[in-house]
């Protein structure tokens, strides 16, 4: 899109006063909580004995929270205190990129020494959710948990026990979640969950196309791309993999054109890309369908690729017994529904100019190799499963699959890299087979016994019990990160439903307030581990304990082992190993299966990171494309199933079509509800938080305040000015939040950074700007996953 230049950025002289006026960062912002200095914490003054000297020593460590990257953190320790944080700055010796921490990683000293840390075990004394607690001993906490586990298991059976999705310390050898699950498995079992809140739609759809979610080349391949389209993808802020940004920058240096398709002008649009093309939320599959139409009708498609490798583009490759009108080509040409999926058709739906759609289609189809990279934002809507399928279709039509610099699109985890996921710690089998989608756990609390396959129940025809006992370790999805906070509060507050809730965290999060027993956890600076990034990038980082746990904090391994002891399964839980010895076990496992030269834990502590021996570049589906007969995919046909017979046979063609189709979202721009609530509300992953982590950190709040973005046109209609406090509401609730009036978002769309900690005023309205007060708990059609960018709302000046 050609941008008008009004004045240009150069040589526009602004006087000092106006400079200070727009440079908002100078004014001291309002911050949450108490201000922190670095005066020594009396209770916290326990440290590694060896580091009690006044020379500064630097220790490598890393955080295993739910960010896709794993970065190298260097903790500078002096007099037993962490005095500074720095990060890796130089390339690895083998040419691998430096694993540089982002803005979030620079604040870890504050996080660890924050005065609001949970300091000792507590039990609830007020009503559940009120947040009133009383200090208890660890013995009492462990006793209570063990006896409640016994009581509830006896009364309701093991399937009444549930461990909530939580990845705050999730990517290591003995992560919080695997410790809890092992404890539950060894004491009878628990109701399983499938999926996650990040990528379950694409994680469900992508394997039906490619037989795997690892449809991505190594990020190093991007340096060879000629065009890169980042759709609903913001690697300038969210980190799917720490090495990705290096290669995106390399691609740009090598002359690649990078385009961001997003309702917001994102960090990526600003610093990584050449162009920003806005679109209405939930309509990206319409765009991709129209791009496919242009590519096909202009003859820019790779017919040979479609014929040889794919199922169902046209009648030639449709499965037997499927009518020719069900092919993708027939859909694009409107042979069944009479609607051609033209740019004109998509323009009305997406808000994107028809000529821009044509431009994008031609650009992608004629500049090969090209990478159409999808973020998870595009699949977090009512019919988000169609998002990865649209991407895969375009990648196949342009023959960008299995080639250097190309990208098979869809989920896009790195394929063919050695995997660090080798822990043998969580090997206990869960005797309960039933599973639900993680997003439906609140339903399972009050109507679990009514849930069926239609609700996503698998492994059992029905459940004999609702959820009665909840473990929520290192996660905020119990309340804050789950949709429709007001609904969840009501469900959780009822003590006759979930009878016992135990939470472990480092701060009093909104979820922690719903605990019956609340346990103080450790930060990564107080524990050892070996960590994996989300996607297999071929390396692990070390998490090295540089401080003894502060206050009475304990890590989850110790906690779960203590509960296991009470319940008579200590030996089975620990298998005779300390947490540190599980690191050695991991080293052994990796040496056996992946890399015989993997360093010992102590050696790893000295170098911080270990890259496995691997090819510089790996290409997803390269072997398949070379010889599809010898190297078939693990789909039923062995080919790329653009038309999936498996999906067809599910027989829900309207909501779960066998080919990538745009389906108008409920609470999307075509829903009549838009008359009442005229604004599409989306969330975004805030650069200064990892989901809800760090919301209470003053330096980060100073860097980026919790504000809602709104276009000046929408603001003017409502008589709203920049920085005004506004009320955002729909049928599910109300939040109050300051507004940032900006042209970085298109009219008709408002955006609230997700993850702010819900705080209610006396009327129950949120005053922190917590997005999930307004999001919908209705699951998506196929994965039964979270549709958290599918919302309509209205805004008024508060």
């Amino acid at each position: 899109m050609k941008k008008e230049k009004s004045g240009g950025l150069l040589n526009q002289k602004i006087g000092r006063r106006s400079f200070l006026k727009w440079s908002g960062a100078v004014a001291a912002p309002a911050v949450l909580g108490t201000s922190i200095g670095f005066t020594k914490l009396k209770e916290a003054d326990t440290v590694l004995a060896e580091s009690k000297d006044s020379t500064e020593k630097i220790y490598y460590t890393s955080n295993g929270n739910n960010c896709g990257g794993r970065c190298v953190i260097k903790a500078h320790v002096k007099n037993g205190q962490v005095v500074r944080i720095s990060t890796q700055i130089k390339e690895e010796e083998n040419g691998q990129p430096a694993l540089k921490a982002c803005v979030r990683g620079r604040n870890y000293r504050n996080m660890t020494y924050h005065p609001d840390r949970l300091k000792y075990p507590m039990k609830r004394v007020g009503k559940r959710g009120e947040g009133k607690f009383e200090r208890i001993s660890w013995d009492e906490a462990i006793d209570t948990i063990a006896s409640e586990m016994k009581r509830i298991t006896k009364k309701y059976g093991p399937a009444s026990r549930y461990s909530v999705y939580g990845w705050g310390n999730g990517y290591g050898v003995t992560s919080d979640i695997s410790s809890v699950n092992k404890l539950l498995a060894l004491t009878g079992g628990y109701l399983n969950y499938r999926g996650n809140y990040s990528s379950f739609q694409t994680g469900t759809a992508t394997p039906t196309i490619y037989g795997t979610g690892s449809s991505g080349n190594s990020y190093s391949s991007l340096a060879y791309s000629k065009v890169i389209i980042l759709m609903a993808h913001n690697p300038g802020a969210t980190v799917f993999g720490t090495t990705m940004r290096t290669y995106l920058m390399k691609a740009r240096e090598n002359g690649a054109k990078i385009i961001v398709v997003d309702p917001r002008y994102s960090e990526s649009a600003k610093g990584l890309a050449d162009e920003w093309i806005p679109i209405k939320p939930t309509t990206d599959t319409a765009l991709m369908d129209a791009m496919a139409y242009v590519i096909y009708t202009e003859g820019l498609h790779d017919q040979a690729f479609l014929d040889k490798y794919c199922i169902g583009f046209d009648e030639k490759t449709l499965p037997e017994g499927i009518d020719a009108k069900e092919s993708i080509k027939a859909y694009l040409l409107g042979e069944k529904d009479g609607i051609k999926k033209t740019p004109e058709w998509a323009e009305k739906i997406t808000g994107m100019d028809r000529n821009t759609i044509k431009y994008l289609a031609r650009l992608y189809a004629t500049n090969k190799p090209g990478a159409l990279m999808l973020g998870n934002g595009g699949q977090r809507h009512a019919y988000g499963e169609q998002h990865p399928r649209g991407g895969a279709l375009l990648a196949c039509m342009t023959g960008n699959v299995g080639v250097l610099g190309g990208w098979a699109s869809a989920k896009g985890d790195c394929a063919g890299r050695p995997s660090g996921w080798q822990s043998r710690f969580s090997s206990a089998t869960n005797p309960v087979e039933a599973s639900i989608s993680c997003f439906t756990f609140t339903d399972a609390i009050f109507r679990g016994t009514e849930m069926t396959a239609e609700d996503g129940l698998q492994g059992a025809d029905k459940l004999d019990t609702n959820i009665k006992l909840i473990f929520n370790f290192s996660g905020n999805a119990l309340l804050n990160q789950h949709s429709d906070i007001n609904r969840t509060k009501e469900i959780l507050a009822d003590e006759s439903k979930a009878e016992f809730i135990v939470v472990n965290d480092i701060f009093m999060t909104p979820s922690a307030k719903y605990a019956d027993i609340l346990l103080p956890g450790t930060t990564f600076l107080e524990r050892n581990d070996i960590l994996n990034p989300w996607s297999d990038e071929g390396y692990v980082t070390v998490q090295q304990k540089v401080l003894e746990p502060l206050y009475e904090c304990r890590d989850e391994y110790e906690v779960c082992a203590a509960i296991a002891k009470k319940l008579g399964v200590y030996d089975k839980f620990t298998e005779g190993k300390t947490r540190r010895e599980w690191m050695d076990d991991y080293v052994e496992a990796v040496r056996e299966s992946v890399d015989p030269n993997f360093p010992s834990f102590d050696e790893l502590c000295k170098k911080g990171v270990h890259f496995f021996p691997m090819d510089d570049i790996t290409i997803a589906f390269e072997d398949f494309v070379k010889d599809p007969k010898v190297n078939p995919l693990s789909t039923p046909t062995g080919k790329i199933e653009l038309f999936s017979k498996t999906v067809w046979d599910m027989n829900q063609h309207d909501e779960i079509p066998a080919i990538p189709k745009y389906i108008a979202a409920w609470e999307g721009p075509e829903d009549p509800l838009i008359e009442k609530y005229p604004l599409q509300l989306i969330g975004w992953h805030f650069v200064r938080r990892c989901h809800s982590i760090h919301d209470n950190q003053p330096w980060l709040e100073e860097a980026e305040k919790q504000v809602m973005w709104m276009n000046p046109i929408d603001a003017k209609k409502r008589n709203i000015k920049d920085s005004d406090k506004v009320k955002v509401f729909n049928d599910r609730g109300t939040i109050f939040i300051p507004v940032h009036v900006t042209n970085k978002i298109v009219p008709g769309v408002i955006a609230v950074p997700q993850g702010a900690w819900h705080s209610a005023d006396k009327n129950g309205n949120d005053v922190r700007g917590s997005l999930n007060v307004l999001t919908n708990s209705r699951p998506t059609a196929w994965a039964k996953a979270n549709p958290q960018h599918t919302n309509l709302a209205e805004v008024e000046k508060a």
Binding site: K2, K3, E4, K5, S6, G7, G8, L9, L10, N11, Q12, K13, I14, F19, W22, S23, A25, A28, P29, V31, I36, G37, S86, T87, I89, C102, V103, G105, N107, G236, R245, M249, Y265, E267, S268, K270, G271, L272, E275, W276, P278, E347, G351, M352, V687, R688, P698, W699, L700, E702, A703, E704, P712, I713, T742, N743, K744, I745, V746, P747
Partner: protein
Amino acid sequence: MGQVGFYINQAKCTGCKACQIACKDKNDNKVGILFRRVYEFEEGISTKVNGVFKTSLQSASLSISCNHCDNPKCVQGCPTGAMHKRESDGVVLVDHEKCVGCKYCTWNCPYGAPQFNDDLGMMTKCDTCLDLREKGENPACVDACPFNALEFGEISELRAAYGTINEVSGLPSAKFTNPNIVITPNIKE
């Protein structure tokens, strides 16, 4: 060493503020004290015409600290001589033996660089991370940038490599203080 300065590649800057936080961590600066600050500039409009989005938006972030100017107005405004420009490499520093906390320097610096620390009752500011530089390291902010948008060095070398732009839209004119910065603006065609 000759006069030092910063190179700021706005075209690569995402506005993430890792530099700002790294600086605060290095200098133990509480909320409100920002030796390095990241500003955002926005120009143009995003609108909808006949249901179709049109945008002429240009937006860029700018990360600046103290520019260790050739003609430091802060130094000229300081009545005690606390604010001074050292000979060796032109770094502008506050002498805490002399600073009386009168804040005149902040009034004179067009960039808002000097930062008053009320715990000390004195002015504080970017010193180019002298201690790190003595150890042969880069300033903390420079090494922190995940997008490699910042560099530090002798200004003559930075100018030779990246040109001489030292003002962009939103910044005061360079003519007041001759700041030792080189900027690559973020302009999208």
